[in-house]
Structures are given as structure tokens and as C-alpha cells.
Amino acid sequence: MTVPTLSHLDALESEAVHVFREVAGEFERPVILFSGGKDSIVMLHLALKAFTPAPVPFSLLHVDTGHNFPEVLEYRDRTVARHSLRLHVASVQDHIDRGVLRERPDGTRNPLQTVPLTERIQAEKFDAVFGGGRRDEEKARAKERVFSLRDEFSQWDPRRQRPELWNLYNGRHAPGEHVRVFPLSNWTELDVWQYIAREGIELPEIYFAHHREVFRRAGMWLTAGEWGGPKDGETVEKRQVRYRTVGDMSCTGAVDSDATTLDAVITEIAASRLTERGATRADDKMSEAAMEDRKREGYF
């Protein structure tokens, strides 16, 4: 007899659900990093499916840079309420106000997220932290495990990772250590979009083309704000743009687009000759090893 072949999205979905259930079975205090971006939205959707008809046995953690897109915060709060989830918020602004962190001269807050994140993980004694990171995003991420052990400083050491064989994930850790878990490791940007379309998942509006006041810097359209733009020689103009990633507004660039529907977005991404991060992340361009360095410090 013939076996129905599994579509690649079904295979990725089953594999990711397997990872969520492993964590639920092995850990005491797991949490899902939730930014309101498409990857974390897909993560939450998968977690909801993994435990249906029971509720998701994890809480959510958002690292709030203080420079978030209002549409995304609104989406976050609506989602939390709809699924009766518990949301933890670790705030970069609080750390700046308390003098623990200092604002960078360039106004970028993405690199400042590491301290609030790791402090909150320690304070709440989270032992498994789900991240939406994909290995296709960046070269340092290509080395990442599905279960990635972090020491009490949340540090990642690519030379000392546990080998990961078959689907036997080893989550053993000492008190104070935790495991970063990446259920979307084997997904690509296009997979994420195709899955969103198939499942009919709602996204924040910024992912679709809309008119917005932006200015040009380093080949990207940035939103004007008190964090450093526009400077002299940069002019604000109203353009039709959309975002490929959600991050801190100070360094997340928009792309010119007329894609107002999911299908149009998928067509646009399939034809794009720029990677997701290359097109939209100013901070990854700071150096060849920017992501690696930040991951070593505990960034997700």
C-alpha cells in the first residue's frame, strides 16, 4: 500500500511540535521568547497545536527595547489575552533608567537586549527558553543546536556544543544553567511565510505594504524617531514600504514594497536577492562577526 507523502511544511511542523513536547516533558520552567515578530508568532502557533486541546504549558517573555512598533505591541497584548497566556516583560528602558545600561551613541537598542534578557532568565529561574532563531538566518546561527546549553552567564560557546544526534535532544543542565531551544532551526524564511499562509495566521500590519514616513540610511528605510534620525542630510519622505523582520525601530529597516497580501509577500521574498537580515538589519552589518559576538554574550 502507498503511504501519503508528507509535505515539507507538515514535516517541519511535526518536527517542531516534537521539540515543544520534549521541553514540556523534560523541563520545570520553560518560557517562549515572544517579540510579536513572525517567527515567534509561528512558534506560538505551533505550541498551541502541540498541546491542544489543553492550554500551552509555557509563559511568554518579551524583551521590550522601548523602541517597539506600536502595532506590534498591540498585537502582542491582544494575542496574550486571546490565549490566556502569562506575559513577562523585560525592559531595556528600565535598565537605562536604573543606570545599569547606557544608551549607545547610535541610538540602537538591539545589542542592549542581552542584559535584560539574561537577568530575567536568572531571576525567574527559567530553565528552557524557546527562541524563534532559524539556522538559515546567518552564518553563526548555522552552527546552532536545537537544544543549546547556556552557562550561568547565558554564554554560547560554539566550540563546546553538545553533539546532537538523531532526534535525541539532551537537555540536562546544572542549576543556574539553561537551555535555549530553537524549534524552527530547520525552517527557512520562505517556509515560515508559506506556513503562515497555509495556517491563516494573523500578523501585525507592518509586515504588509503600507504608507509610512521614513528616511534613507545605509540603503534602508528607517522610521524617524528620537533615537537618532533623521540627521542632517537625511530627509523624511512618505513611502509605501513593508518590514521583513520586527525588531528595535532604531535599526530595523523597511523595504519598498507593494505587497499587501500574503501571496504577494511570498512572491516578493521568493524573488528577492537579499537575505532577510541583510535587507533589514543595520546592526548585523557592524562587523562580520556581529551576530556571533552577541550570541556568545547571551543574545538569542
Partner: protein
């Protein structure tokens, strides 16, 4: 670098995926081959290529170094070596690919074992000038041990031996002589030059004596194994979802199929029951097939929990219930494994204590050693022969002191 729109079609949602691994010795050009595969299949985007061009120019090279497409860590770029396994993703119109890029340099065997554990195909790379060396045989032995269904012997640097057929033939014959004794059922050989791009993505005009496919063509067309639906089902219970009075046993189906009405056995208790419901992530279904993640309900309210395994099939196809585990192993950790060691054994969703009883006559295994082992476990395990079902015949040993993954094991029932 052109910024024109890609001519490579993107995959549809129904396309299949080939997971494969690469293995090679130091300096045989593996990073260049992988870089060439990504570059020539138009899987490298403009900003990635620009970064490679910039870095190559900074180092005074006059052509972009394709190896830089894969070597992503600071130390790798500085030292020109690959550290640890990396996973690469690319797609053509025919197929999606997940590549486990395993380094030949540092701790090669354990890295290849890691990459090969999920691979359906392994590329063993050989430098045409050096031919089959000890590392080649080691890589072939690992592919055979891990039961990777397809092996490609890729003879690289053909440009440095004048694209000569006799050089290629000599290496293939040499490799074939060893294949049998290594337990390799068969292999496909392809002559390539990763640096010049011969037979990687396009067939090369410089080797008209070769009439086989280019490497990518082969990767696109090699059959991906589909398990028979009449294979006995193996369903390790991962998690019990309680909803009111109802218990849903959640897990990923490793092999075969489960249907509503099936008589099942729960291991290790040996109790039997009947499937009364199947949910595929929220959708009720009459049947589900491997490798789907599902949940099932049983007719009787049994005490079934994480670590148990639900199976179907006649008694003679049942997994072997035993506390004495015989297996082929690869030792992964720097700390040696010794007879008498107490370890944790992780098999499917079950973790049990175990003692190392025998190490094939050796007093200890050290990093990268391949060997045979006998373990005694504190509780019985439902084991399959690794050759029959990879996922229920595989296990890892874990150090109870610090949680390090020590050893990869493949059960040998016969």
C-alpha cells in the same frame, strides 16, 4: 555580482526534502565544494556574496573565496578551518536540501557521526591527487555504521590531475575494494572540480568520458526513502496531555501507521489496549503515518506515561524488551568511557541508568573511537535493531555528573 532576479524556481509546499551530510579530510576542498553548490545553484544572495567578496579582497585574494560562504565563525575565517557541524539550507525547483556540513579537521569522526545520524545521503570527498586515504575509509565506515542509505564518492580537484579518466578510475576501484569490508552496500562516484565548477551543478565538458550526472543533479533525483505503511508502528509517548478526564498520549510516530481501532501494546508494561481516537495537531483523523506528530487516546485508562512506547504488529515484529543492550558505538566526548562506568542512557523519550559492562575487549574508548559495547540498564527498554528502525534502535549515553553527551549507540539485536 548580478542583482537580477533569480531564475531558480522556489519550491512549492509539496516538494520533498533531502537531508545529506558532507565529509572530507583537511584541505580536500570540502568548504569550496559546499560553497560552489550554494553559489552555482543560485542559493547565495547578493548581500552574502558581497560580504565574501569584501573579506576575500581584505585578505588580498583576487577571486572570491567560496569557502567563506560556509565558514561562519570568527576562528574559522581567521584560521581557514571549519569548526563543528553547520547546517545549510538551499532549494532548487526539484527539491529542498538540508546539508549537515561536517568538518574534516577537528574531531572528524564524531562530527560526521552527528551529521550522518539524520542524513539520507553522505558525500565522501577525496582529493584526486591523494586518492583514498585513511580518513576516506573512516568516513565510509561511519556512513556504513550509521546506515546512511546513499553514499557518493566525490573525487575532487580533477583539474589538478588533468581531468584524466584513469586517475578517477584508479580511485574508484581502490574505494570499491574497501567498500565491501566496510559494510557499504553500494556507492555512486562523481568526478568534480569544486574550484573550477566541473560536475558540481553543471556537467563538465572537460570530462567527456564521464556520462553520469553532475553532483547537484544526483542530489535532486536520488530517491528519498519512504517507509512502508504496513511496517509495525512505533510510537514513543512524549507527553501526556490531560484534558478533563481524557488523556491524550502525544508523540511523533517513528515508523508505520496508527489507525482508530488498532490493537496496540504498551511497553515496557506489555499491556494491550485499543486506539479510540487520533488527533493530528487538533484535527481528528482515522489514521496517521510516520513521521507525523500526533496524539492518541486508548480504550482503557492505563497508566501510560512519557518514556513508554506504543506499538502495533504481530508478536514476532515486537521490539525486544531487555536490560542488556548490545550496540555499535562512537564515543564523542573527550572524557574516556570505561568498563564499570555508570551512565544515563537516553532511548526515544526514555532515560534510564546504565552500567558499562563490556567494551569489545578494550579497557576504554576515547574520543572518536568506534567500538562495540554491552550495557546493563536499571529498567527494561523496548529496542529495535538499528538496521531495522533507525530511531528506535538509536541511543545516546549521558554523563550523570554534568549532563555531557558521551556516546552515540546503535543497537545490534542479532
Amino acid at each position: 555580482m548580478s542583482t537580477s532576479t533569480s531564475t531558480v524556481e522556489r519550491p512549492s509546499a509539496t516538494i520533498d526534502t533531502l537531508r545529506f551530510a558532507t565529509a572530507g579530510s583537511v584541505d580536500d576542498g570540502k568548504s569550496t565544494l559546499v560553497g560552489r553548490l550554494l553559489h552555482d545553484s543560485k542559493s547565495v544572495l547578493t548581500d552574502q556574496m558581497e560580504a565574501v567578496e569584501r573579506f576575500s579582497a581584505d585578505r588580498g585574494q583576487d577571486a572570491p573565496d567560496l569557502a567563506l560562504l560556509t565558514d561562519g565563525l570568527r576562528a574559522e575565517r581567521e584560521q581557514g578551518i571549519t569548526i563543528d557541524v553547520a547546517y545549510r539550507y538551499f532549494a532548487t525547483a526539484r527539491r529542498r536540501f538540508i546539508l549537515a556540513d561536517t568538518p574534516g579537521h577537528v574531531q572528524y569522526t564524531r562530527n560526521m557521526v552527528t551529521g550522518a545520524s539524520t542524513a539520507e545521503l553522505a558525500i565522501v570527498l577525496v582529493d584526486a591527487r591523494n586518492g583514498v586515504v585513511e580518513q576516506t575509509l573512516r568516513h565510509a565506515a561511519v556512513a556504513a555504521l550509521l546506515r546512511v542509505p546513499h553514499v557518493v564518492l566525490s573525487v575532487n580537484k580533477m583539474d589538478l590531475v588533468g581531468y584524466e579518466e584513469k586517475e578517477f578510475r584508479r580511485i574508484v576501484e581502490d574505494f570499491a575494494r574497501h567498500a565491501d569490508e566496510l559494510g557499504l552496500p553500494g556507492f555512486t562516484s562523481i568526478p568534480v572540480s569544486a574550484l573550477a565548477g566541473d560536475n558540481v551543478v553543471e556537467r563538465s565538458a572537460r570530462m567527456d568520458w564521464y556520462d553520469g550526472p553532475a553532483l547537484l543533479e544526483f542530489l535532486e533525483t536520488v530517491p528519498v526513502g519512504v517507509e512502508a505503511a504496513d511496517a509495525p508502528a512505533r510510537f514513543p509517548v512524549q507527553y501526556v496531555i490531560r484534558h478533563g478526564e481524557v488523556r491524550h498520549y502525544a508523540g511523533q510516530l517513528v515508523s508505520g501507521a496508527l489507525r482508530v481501532g488498532d490493537r496496540v501494546t504498551v511497553h515496557p508494561s506489555g499491556e494491550t489496549s485499543e486506539i479510540t481516537g487520533i488527533d493530528v495537531l487538533g484535527e481528528a483523523a482515522e489514521a496517521a503515518y510516520a513521521p507525523r506528530s500526533i496524539s492518541v487516546r486508548l480504550a482503557d485508562q492505563r497508566d501510560v506515561s512519557r518514556g513508554d512506547m506504543i506499538t502495533t504488529g504481530a508478536a514476532d515484529t515486537a521490539p525486544s524488551l531487555t536490560r542488556d543492550v548490545r550496540a555499535a558505538v562512537c564515543h564523542l566526548a573527550e572524557r574516556p568511557l570505561r568498563v564499570g562506568d555508570r551512565v544515563l542512557l537516553r532511548h526515544t523519550t526514555r532515560t534510564v541508568q546504565a552500567i558499562v559492562r563490556e567494551l569489545g575487549g578494550f579497557p576504554e574508548l576515547t574520543t572518536n573511537d568506534l567500538g562495540r559495547i554491552v550495557l546493563r540498564t536499571a529498567e527494561p527498554l523496548a529496542l529495535d535493531d538499528y538496521a531495522a528502525v533507525r530511531r528506535t534502535g538509536a541511543f545516546i549515553l549521558v554523563d550523570p555528573a554534568d549532563g555531557a553527551t558521551l556516546t552515540a549507540g546503535m543497537v545490534e539485536l542479532r
